[in-house]
């Protein structure tokens, strides 16, 4: 089987400048995404995440480089391509004067492929009972869920998610994450743009760190933790009536022995294993925070 057949996205040497000069918002970006993979695109605001994503979905014109999405060359976008892709925007963008159900009913008519039943999507995102209310009267979270539901209407093979859980309460965010996991199991390829490292850690097969328009690294969260993280245990214990805080490596022999000694000899107050988080790795690699 042709290796290219398994790639849903191929990007090579992508450049983009809003001012049409050497002041690039995206510089020499290259990556590929396998079919069925969740690929996290992580970076702080203004890093080039949205620019890259907008080029991939045709909202921005491709200036320089090669981009292929779902087998289509983005340089010459065809409407058919959009039958295969779906996009959930960070900022909700639904018709406020139409009800949630009317919004989905309208959008399903704009595709040439079999679409999901709008009512099923309404139920899926927890808007049942509110489907006939005008979207303008929805809360921010409800609008976000409607935007998310709309992105699934055409059963996309390639699904772009821009901050899919932003502004949602933890219970709804958890449901959204479950939906994403279920779609992945069905073989949907997902391009997840976020600055939330916990979401990325939980959902993504691979992540790319992008800062100042360039990709600094691409790898799986697990591999990154192994490579950049330290395995530590934080311990608080009483010694001679005084509370002592200490960290012990779980891979260095001497420290492991010292940890055993502390546990056996002193009164332990708290003890936590401490892996490096994706956020800490990001800061370590890029020298930048995520805000």
């Amino acid at each position: 089987m042709d290796e290219g057949m398994n790639k849903m996205i191929k990007v090579s040497n992508l450049y983009h400048s809003y001012s049409n000069d050497d002041n690039y918002a995206v510089k020499d970006v290259s990556f590929e995404i396998e079919k069925g993979e969740i690929f996290g695109f992580l970076g702080p605001s203004g890093a080039g995440k949205s620019t890259t994503q907008n080029i991939l979905v045709g909202l921005l014109q491709l200036q320089q480089g090669q981009v292929e999405v779902a087998g289509y060359d983005v340089k010459h976008i065809k409407n058919k391509m959009f039958n295969k892709i779906g996009m959930s925007f960070e900022q909700s963008n639904v018709y406020n004067k139409m009800s949630g159900l009317e919004n989905l009913e309208f959008y399903r008519k704009l595709f040439d492929v079999e679409t999901k039943d709008p009512m099923d999507l309404i139920k899926l995102v927890g808007l049942e009972g509110k489907e006939n209310i005008k979207a303008g009267k929805y809360s921010k979270g409800m609008k976000h869920r409607l935007t998310f539901a709309r992105s699934m209407i055409n059963n996309p093979e390639m699904w772009f998610l821009d901050e899919p859980t932003t502004g949602l309460d933890p219970a709804i965010a958890s449901e959204i994450k479950d939906i994403i996991k279920r779609e992945k199991e069905k073989g949907v390829t997902i391009f997840l743009t976020t600055h939330n490292m916990y979401i990325a850690d939980e959902l993504c097969d691979r992540v790319a760190f992008i800062v100042d328009g360039t990709i600094r690294l691409i790898d799986s969260p697990k591999a990154l933790k192994l490579k950049y993280g330290e395995k530590l245990v934080d311990v608080e214990y009483f010694k001679d009536g005084e509370l002592i805080k200490d960290s012990f490596s779980t891979v260095i022999k001497e420290e492991k022995e010292r940890l055993v000694e502390v546990i056996s000899k002193y009164d332990i107050q708290t003890m936590h294993t401490k892996e490096a988080t994706l956020e800490e790795i990001f800061i370590k690699v890029t020298g930048r925070g995520l805000v």
Partner: protein, 371 residues
């Protein structure tokens, strides 16, 4: 099919928006103005105030000659309010003017003071010559002053002028065409500005509203073309224009206009104006940024209305402004035996021009979707 879905959705949305009701409401207001405020023909009869300080015999002759020219050959005794006082006057109404004969010089002075119009004191001097003294207001042109002097000159006086003007041959270019009344003559202006040119502003409002809500981006990520979205917006604008045009025209003009030509012209000129509006909006992020450009376009489009009401001012450059052809076309459409060839050519021109601008606007929109 997707175009139809978009169009019907836009139609449904516009029926829930303020802009639609503003347009319809404005056309109802214009209709009410036409029906109840603007007379069928404006009263162009000038008012003249005279005090005949003459011997009775001369005065009788003067009054007799005025009575002969009066429309119903009867003098009307009226009271004039001037300078917080009331004065008696005799009113003679001719085809061209209303002539008030005042009884005293004091009344003449009061009218001159309050009405701000030239008044005439007619008297006889020591040589038994009739002297006309004009009390002007200061704003009269030198042409008028010269004319008044020539008018009372014995050699080049009013007899000579009358003989000359009576012998001028007036030929109508369109023998069959019945001139529009003053009220009807205003309708093309209302149709041009409330119908076609409002399209330019309203479509910009619709687009910026959608841009603001991110709707354009959402539409762009579907298997439907951006031009479907844009054309469905234009379709709604044209439907609104047809409705507002009929609201203004039918109650005033009845069956006189050529409605088929009117429909064709509203569609083509509306398509042109809406495409122009789309093209302008494609350069800006919101209506505040676009307002400057919109304002300039609207001011330019207003220029031909000056020429429309002042036919003597008709420079070549005004004729190439699109609203000139719009005004003329609407005038031909509502006139009896209007020049339909002109309307057809103008419709075709607007359709072709509109299509070109629409293609450009579509290209621009595809480039600026993420704005």
């Amino acid at each position: 099919m997707k175009l139809w879905y978009s169009f019907s959705k836009e139609l449904s949305l516009s029926s829930k928006s303020w802009y639609f009701y503003i347009e319809v409401g404005m056309s109802v207001v214009l209709l009410l103005i036409l029906l109840f405020v603007i007379p069928e023909n404006f009263d162009s009869n000038g008012k003249q105030y005279l005090y005949l300080d003459l011997p009775q015999v001369v005065r009788d002759r003067y009054e007799k000659s005025l009575l002969e020219e009066d429309l119903d050959e009867t003098v009307e005794l009226v009271e004039l309010e001037a300078d917080d006082r009331t004065f008696a006057a005799a009113l003679y109404e001719t085809e061209e003017s209303k002539i008030y004969l005042l009884d005293t010089k004091e009344a003449l002075d009061a009218v001159s003071e309050s009405e701000r119009v030239p008044v005439v004191h007619v008297r006889v001097n020591e040589d038994n010559q009739i002297i006309h003294t004009y009390y002007l207001q200061g704003y009269e042109t030198s042409k008028l002053r010269n004319l008044l002097m020539v008018y009372h000159n014995r050699l080049a006086g009013h007899d000579v002028i009358e003989d000359y003007s009576d012998n001028i041959e007036v030929r109508k270019l369109y023998q069959e065409a019945r001139p529009l009344s003053d009220k009807e003559n205003i309708i093309p202006v209302f149709l041009t500005f409330n119908g076609s040119l409002m399209s330019l502003f309203i479509i910009a409002a619709y687009i910026f509203l959608d841009k603001n809500e991110g709707i354009v981006k959402a539409y762009a990520i579907t298997a439907s073309s951006v031009w479907h979205y844009l054309l469905s917006k234009i379709g709604v604008i044209i439907v609104t224009s047809i409705v507002t045009t009929l609201i203004v025209t039918v109650p005033i003009m009845g069956l006189q206009p050529n409605y088929l030509a009117m429909l064709l012209f509203v569609v083509s000129s509306g398509f042109f104006a809406a495409s122009l509006g789309l093209f302008l909006t494609s350069f800006y992020k919101d209506i505040v940024e676009a307002f400057g450009a919109m304002y300039i376009v609207i001011v330019i489009m207003i220029m031909p209305s000056i020429s429309y009401f002042t036919p003597s001012w008709d420079p070549y450059w005004v004729k190439i402004i699109p609203s000139y052809a719009m005004l003329q076309s609407f005038k031909e459409i509502i006139s009896v035996d209007g020049n339909m060839a002109y309307v057809m050519v103008a419709s075709l021109g607007f359709a072709v021009l509109g299509l070109d601008i629409f293609i450009l606007a579509n290209y621009r929109f595809k480039k600026t979707l993420s704005l």
